[in-house]
């Protein structure tokens, strides 16, 4: 292997009450694909932010092409050829795709006004779209894109920089299988051109697919590295969480009961001429699979009353109900855990405790005031149960690692008494150990009679956790699968609209 051009030596970083990184070292050689793995809050994003110049380390050195520094600025990192796809997306809602990709680097016409050359802008963006196989146009407004499509835009931004090293922080967390496959191919192509890649993921099969080396962080410390030959899911899990994992599927205590939630011929804005019918039974987990843009999130939003239902009906325990606002849905015992935690799930600069109590504040009443002691107590219990890594429940949610933020979103709803829970990507960005705990919790919920509808793009999750799978294709259900029919092949066939 060639000499490393970039080295992190003894990097440390601490925040008040937290050691995010503790003397971590990492060397990157040209054309190397490194997978950075570890539990939520292990320090993966922080280490990469040090490399991208976003976070200043409290100690250690960074060597780039033989030049040693104590910290990089963003400009220096870009000059050194480092491109960064952040975990939390940083895009401009009011611009189109091309505008976002080339923000600050727009091609301009000559002349004193430096007007933006739109033609050139779009012409430069199209090849990037083709490379990722994206299904939207360079002039599509960002506001209309789904979370997965936005993630692709972030990746295009990094690709457009012609970098020597591309860092991707959980690039696949909201991508479906086909898009992930595309990305894997892009990574292979970059590698062939001598570009190095560091990518963070919680999906171990992706590591198996494309990494030359996996580096494992735990509690801010480097606990080991696995070469390509040593890579196996079991080995990675053992390093990450220090123990072995059981299989994902936990069978239900009793066979499912009668239908709790019936969605009858539901029509949403995105697919006005398609209707969806499905029912979720008491005590079952119904997985809802499909490609990005197949209308799953839109269906969930309509059932929860965020978007209007354009036709059809929703029945709870056989009775038709009218749900026009989320409040109405919640009052009926239907909860939605949204996929976009930053936009819809959390108040980022508010404490963990206040976030958790928000949907259920009326049960914390003493006279008409909020009983903060009880609020704190409940939040602490939730923190214990979900193993949220934070100094205290008064910590603001924005300073938590991505996976721990997701756990706070879950905690918001689990302290209430649901009848139907709709999860939209419940474990986006959650580590393997915590995923297992969440799955076990889902099962505990269904065993008490809750019906769960779980939208997921993670094939392992859909197949591993569901009792039954419904697959959507272009706004309609293309088929149902029972456990005996579960396979990646069958789900994919239905997802692209073929019969099985």
């Amino acid at each position: 292997m060639t000499e490393p051009f970039l080295e992190l030596v003894d990097i440390s970083k601490s925040y008040p009450g937290v050691v995010a990184l503790d003397h971590v070292g990492l060397a990157v050689s040209p054309g190397e694909v490194i997978a950075l793995i570890g539990e939520n809050g292990a320090g993966k994003s922080t280490l990469m932010k040090v490399l991208g110049g976003v976070v200043e380390p409290s100690g250690g050195r960074i060597r780039v092409d033989g030049v040693e520094r104590s910290a990089l600025t963003v400009a220096e990192a870009i000059a050194a050829g480092i491109a960064f796809v952040h975990q939390e997306l940083n895009l401009f809602d009011n611009l189109d795709v091309a505008g976002n990709v080339f923000i600050g680097r727009e091609p301009v016409h000559g002349g004193p006004l430096r007007l933006i050359d739109r033609k050139a802008l779009y012409a430069k963006t199209q090849p990037l779209l083709d490379r990722l196989g994206a299904d939207f146009a360079p002039d599509a407004p960002l506001a209309g894109l789904s979370l997965a499509q936005r993630q692709l835009v972030e990746i295009m931004k990094a690709l457009s920089l012609d970098a020597r090293l591309v860092i991707m922080d959980e690039p696949t967390s909201s991508l479906t299988l086909s898009e992930t496959d595309r990305l894997m191919r892009v990574i292979a192509a970059l590698k062939a051109h001598g570009v190095s890649i560091i990518f963070i993921t919680h999906r171990l099969n992706e590591v198996m697919q494309c990494a030359d080396r996996a580096v494992v962080l735990r509690d801010g410390r480097m606990v080991g590295a696995l070469t390509r030959a040593e890579l196996s899911p079991a080995a990675m899990i053992r390093l990450m969480i220090g123990r072995d994992l059981k299989s994902l599927y936990v069978p239900p205590a009793a066979p499912p009961g009668e239908a709790v939630l019936d969605i009858v011929e539901a029509v949403t804005d995105t697919y006005p001429e398609r209707a969806v019918s499905l029912s979720v039974r008491r005590g079952e987990i119904l997985g809802l699979a499909g490609l990005v843009g197949s209308g799953r999130t839109e269906l969930a939003r309509a059932v929860f009353g965020v978007d209007p239902l354009r036709g059809g009906a929703i029945k709870l325990n056989g009775e038709a109900i009218r749900v026009t606002t989320p409040r109405a849905a919640i009052d009926h015992g239907i909860y939605l855990i949204p996929e976009d935690r930053k936009g819809c799930g959390l108040l980022l600069d508010v404490s963990i405790a206040e976030n958790i109590s928000l949907p259920d504040l009326s049960s914390y009443l003493r006279f008409f005031l909020v009983n903060t002691a009880q609020e704190t107590k409940n939040a602490r219990a939730q923190r214990e149960q979900l193993k949220i890594r934070a100094p205290d429940v008064s910590t603001t949610v924005g300073s938590l690692s991505g996976g721990n933020q997701q756990k706070v979103v879950l905690a918001k709803w689990l302290s209430m008494r649901p009848k139907v829970l709709i999860f939209d990507e419940p474990t986006r960005g959650v580590d393997v150990g915590a995923k297992q705990e969440i799955y076990e919790m889902l099962r505990r919920l269904t065993d008490t009679g809750v019906a769960i509808l779980m939208i997921s793009s993670d094939m392992e999750e859909v197949i591993g956790v569901s009792d039954r799978i419904a697959v959507m294709h272009e706004g309609a259900i293309s088929g149902f699968l029972d456990r005996s029919q579960f396979s990646e092949h069958n789900v994919l066939q239905l997802a692209v609209g073929h019969a099985v």
Partner: protein
């Protein structure tokens, strides 16, 4: 009281001390009592404004509403012989309705609050002037409402200090607002909607209703302030009465830690902000600064205050980061366990 409020209090004391040193008349009982009377009246509509700013809105029609409702109030009790209690209730109700309309326009018709309330500012001012045919509305000779006057513009001796009743009103309003904003469920909803309306909606908060309520509360409190001003000035020239008051309100709210992006601010801060503005007003009068410079002085001090605050915030962040560095070896242990 948070750190921000505390530094504002320090600023007030410093400015007050400087003024008192240069001109001891600042501390005269009469002057203090007058200043506190102003604080009472200005504070009430500043709190009103804060409610709207906290949900991420803005209310620009405060001054015009004070003029219009003031004119109407005087007209009702002087020229139409309406019982003052009835008139009082009618004016407060009108304020609530104005707030309701603004809130509905913002949430249901999706017009930006700046635009809605800017139109309000123009419309109510025009209406007030048209209603009185641009003449001054006031109490004629012989017209006298002793109870009403005592209640609104009177003062009560407390250990030799005449406490203006408007100040008492402010204290009551501020106490209720404080409990509402900082301790009640409704207050949590206000802040949540101001911080992230989408996330609030997903949490089952009826964000439209919460926003409308903020405008309604603002309207009601502004109407109350309008009556206090009417009874204090006793005559209203509708062209100028209350003009620029919305800016006093916004300034007090911003000084008090409200962010114009919404989701932030404290009642104690807003009251202190009002106090600072009135002390400055007083300073201009007492130090013989040409009154034409009135606004310039205020603008300069607000700017300096906000800059100093930014500086302190930055410094506090740096200090706590440095502290984190030394504490980590201790704090790390429980996290790993």
């Amino acid at each position: 009281m948070n750190k921000k409020d505390l530094s504002l209090l320090v600023l007030i004391l410093v400015v007050g001390a400087v003024v008192a040193l240069i001109n001891p008349r600042f501390l005269y009982v009469g002057n203090l009592s007058n200043t506190l009377n102003q604080v009472g009246m200005f504070g009430i509509f500043s709190i009103a404004e804060a409610f709207v700013i906290i949900i991420g809105g803005i209310e620009l029609s405060v001054g015009s509403v004070i003029a219009l409702l003031g004119v109407l109030f005087i007209d009702l009790i002087v020229n139409h012989d309406v019982n003052w209690m009835l008139a009082f209730a009618a004016i407060i109700a009108s304020g609530l309705v104005i707030g309701l309309v603004h809130g509905a326009l913002v949430t249901r018709m999706h017009i930006q609050p700046f635009v809605v309330t800017l139109c309000g500012l123009l419309i109510y001012r025009g209406a007030a002037r048209y209603y009185t045919e641009d003449a001054t509305a006031g109490f004629g000779f012989g017209a006298s409402f002793p109870t009403l006057e005592w209640l609104t513009a009177g003062r009560t001796d407390l250990l030799g200090f005449p406490v203006p009743h408007s100040l008492v009103a402010l204290i009551v309003v501020a106490a209720i607002a404080w409990v509402l904003l900082h301790r009640s469920v409704f207050g949590r909803y206000l802040y949540a909607v101001g911080k992230n309306e989408e996330a609030a909606r997903y949490s089952g908060i009826r964000s439209e209703r919460v926003m409308i309520s903020a405008y309604v509360i603002c309207g009601g409190l502004t109407a109350f302030a309008a009556i206090l001003f009417a009874m204090y000035t006793r005559s209203i020239s509708p062209a100028v009465h209350g003009s620029f008051y919305e800016l006093y309100a916004i300034a007090a709210a911003v000084l008090g830690g409200c962010s114009l992006r919404g989701g932030e601010g404290s009642i104690v801060g807003v009251v202190l902000g009002t106090v600072l503005l009135q002390v400055l007003q007083n300073l201009v009068n007492l130090l013989g600064i040409p009154s034409s410079l009135n606004f310039a002085v205020m603008g300069a001090v607000i700017l300096i205050g906000v800059l100093a605050d930014q500086y302190l915030v930055q410094r506090r962040l740096r200090v706590s980061a440095a502290k984190g560095r030394t504490q980590t070896s201790l704090a790390a242990a429980p996290l790993e366990g």
